[in-house]
């Protein structure tokens, strides 16, 4: 038994404890990651539902109905249209 043995033993113990701690840390972080991923999935689902809702509200038939009934809008007659030709860029 040399003098260095207790020192090595101490280092070994420290390393072993370090390994245990880091493994524990890794697992905790992993569980957190899992939770966040689950949340991401939830948000994706919610995004899909919101998209669905948005497109239901924005259905053209609904927009048209509100425009013509509530806002009393209508398409102008062709007689009241003036077609403007764009000026050629050279001038």
């Amino acid at each position: 038994m040399s003098k260095s043995t207790p020192i090595l033993l101490a280092i070994l113990t420290a390393c072993a404890l370090g390994l245990v701690t880091s493994q524990h840390q890794a697992r905790k972080l992993f569980a957190e990651l899992e939770q966040e991923q689950e949340r991401a999935r939830q948000l994706e689902v919610e995004y899909g539902q919101l998209q669905l809702e948005a497109s239901t509200w924005a259905m053209h038939s609904r927009v048209e109905r509100i425009a013509s009934r509530q806002l009393r809008m209508r398409v102008p007659d062709a007689t009241r249209l003036q077609i403007v030709k764009p000026e050629s860029p050279a001038q």
Binding site: A26, R27, F30, A31, E34, V45, G48, Q49, Q51, L52, S55, T56, M59, H60, S61, E64, V75, D77, A78, T79, L81, I83
Partner: protein
């Protein structure tokens, strides 16, 4: 007294006894070591598996079904998770009050719930599937023992009945059953994956061991449809079908340059989000799967062929009257008073005798070839389920009367998409591109059918047909030049043509100077007394075309003057 030295107590044991004992203990140890060695070294696979099963789990990774989008990225079909509520009847403990509350939440009769949860002969019974997550949460709050929930998926269609026939729908297990959902099941469906993880005693995942199979989400599908045009097409078609008390109707809007189907609708439709109590007939996409005898809308093809072959020119005179045109035992009749018509007028006024005479001057083989090149008698290859090919008999079996009637669209059957596609021949410069239900990003290669000059000549004739003096003045649009052709065909009933049931159609395109859209409209059995294509189908064409050209911001190429319609008596009636 010392016991140790007492001779009475002196015990001498034979040496073999201690040896035997030592041997027994040593061999027991040897057995233990050997067993340990065997378990650790040789038999460890089994044990490791057993051990792993205590903490490692294979969990499934769900894959979502792809969305269906319109050409501008508007979602047309989206999958979202819902819940299914099921029960183990043996374990259910439920009070009358709870049943009533449950019935209220799930919108189903209380007796039905009662019947299901008391059916103890079964181990598993669904109470209701596809329940919204909010409702499912409220059901969970009731805390009824024996009632469970599972996650499943449901497809929603924000467009409702407007897109119903194109999109189709999926079944309870998110597998396509009709329409695009069925046709593109492979693309849309995701492939679920799985992975092995380590769970702690709380059931939390603490380590990812290995990914066995990565989950693959379904791909999004971008259709050629334009939501705005689809809405226009469906709403005008629907009101026309209702107004004329017709059995059904279909409409197709095709982009001339790319062959994309911008809108495709059928009426009556159904709501794909609530489709209980519906039969297969309502799910059929008539524009693609059903055929009809097109009638006069087929005349331009015969005329184009005659022009192409140099048999006639647009101003060649064709004799129409007096009387009918007899071929064998049959006589073809016309409703026009004129003695002679030019070839252009044959189209404009839709003369059957004119078309028949021109057809008989052509060889049957080339007429058949023309129809075939136009896409009749062959599936349009939209990869849509149940595409109709239509009926085009081989020319060798044609009798002269059949060749003559085929010139005006009898004895041949087509689907509405085939008809719309065929007209792109005139809208383009005599060539055709394949139709597509999916968005096309690069211009497809075109196949030439007739010469550009012929296409232009027919286009000019078709433009005459929508002016006063033609059969379809109601197809006119203010500000744009329109070209098109009406069709009014009697339906066959027990092998004979019916005199009360008609198919009214109109196919046309605009702006005539540089066509952008082809629209084909078909109204099946209008029953309010009107049945001419020019009065039933042409107005739908005009309404949809007006809106569609505005959506596309097409520069007007016609006069900005109000449309003049001929007075009641002066209208040109089509020959039927």
């Amino acid at each position: 007294m010392k016991y140790a030295t007492s001779p009475v107590l002196t015990l001498t044991l034979p040496v073999w006894r201690s040896r035997l004992l030592a041997f027994a203990f040593v061999s027991l140890f040897v057995v233990l070591i050997a067993r340990a060695g065997y378990l650790q070294g040789m038999h460890n696979d089994f044990l490791q598996a057993k051990g792993e099963s205590r903490y490692s789990r294979v969990i499934e990774i769900t894959a979502s079904r792809g969305r269906i989008l319109d050409r501008n990225g508007e979602p047309l079909a989206i999958t979202t998770p819902v819940k299914s509520i099921w029960a183990i009847p043996d374990e259910v403990k439920i009070s009358r009050k709870q049943i009533a509350r449950l019935a209220e939440l799930l919108e189903m009769p209380a007796q039905e719930i009662d019947k299901r949860v008391t059916d103890t002969a079964r181990d598993f019974v669904f109470i209701k599937r596809q329940v919204s997550p909010e409702t499912a949460d409220r059901v969970a709050e009731l805390r009824i023992p024996g009632l469970f929930q599972n996650r499943e998926y449901r497809r929603y269609y924000p467009g409702g009945e407007i897109m119903a026939h194109v999109l189709g729908f999926t079944g309870a297990d998110d597998i396509g059953q009709e329409g695009i959902e069925l046709a593109f099941q492979e693309t849309l469906a995701g492939k679920p994956g799985s992975r092995r993880v380590i769970k702690d005693r709380l059931g939390q995942i603490v380590e990812d061991v290995q990914s066995i199979k990565a989950a693959q989400n379904g791909r999004d599908l971008v259709l050629a449809l334009d939501t705005r045009m689809q809405n226009l097409a469906y709403s005008h078609l629907k009101s026309a079908v209702e107004k004329h008390r017709a059995k059904a109707g279909s409409i197709v809007v095709v982009d001339v340059s790319t062959g994309e189907v911008l809108a495709l609708a059928n009426a009556p439709a159904y709501n794909p989000n609530k489709r209980s109590r519906l039969s297969g007939a309502q799910f059929r996409n008539r524009a693609i799967t059903d055929t009809f005898e097109p009638g006069s809308t087929l005349k331009p093809f015969t005329i184009a062929l005659a022009l192409q072959a140099g048999k006639v020119r647009p101003n060649t005179l064709i004799q129409i009257a007096p009387g009918g045109f007899g071929i064998g035992a049959a006589t073809i009749r016309d409703t026009h008073a004129e003695r002679t018509l030019t070839v252009a007028q044959v189209i404009q006024k839709s003369s059957n005798i004119g078309a028949a005479r021109i057809a008989l001057s052509l060889p049957a083989a080339s007429m058949w070839e023309m129809f075939q090149h136009a896409g009749f008698g062959a599936a349009p290859n939209l990869s849509f389920p149940g595409e109709a090919t239509g009926k085009l008999r081989p020319y060798r079996s044609w009798r002269p009367i059949e060749q003559a009637t085929m010139a005006y669209g009898h004895g041949i059957s087509v689907s509405l998409v085939q008809l719309a596609r065929a007209y792109t021949m005139f809208a383009r410069e005599g060539d055709m591109v394949p139709l597509s239900l999916l968005r096309v990003d690069a211009a497809p290669s075109a196949q030439r059918v007739i010469a550009p000059e012929t296409a232009r000549a027919v286009r000019a004739m078709l433009e005459l047909a929508v002016h006063s003096g033609g059969t379809a003045p109601r197809a006119q649009i203010m500000g744009y030049r329109v070209a098109g052709k009406t069709g009014t065909a009697q339906k066959q009933e027990n092998g004979a043509y019916s005199s009360s049931r008609y198919v009214s159609s109109f196919v046309g395109f605009a702006p005539a100077s540089n066509p952008r859209l082809v629209i084909a409209v078909m109204i099946d059995e209008p029953s309010d007394g009107l049945y001419y294509g020019g009065t039933v189908a042409a107005p739908v064409f005009a309404q949809v075309m007006t809106g569609a050209l505005r959506v596309l911001d097409v520069t007007p190429d016609g006069p900005m003057t109000p449309i003049e319609l001929p007075s009641e008596g002066d209208e040109v009636k089509e020959s039927i």
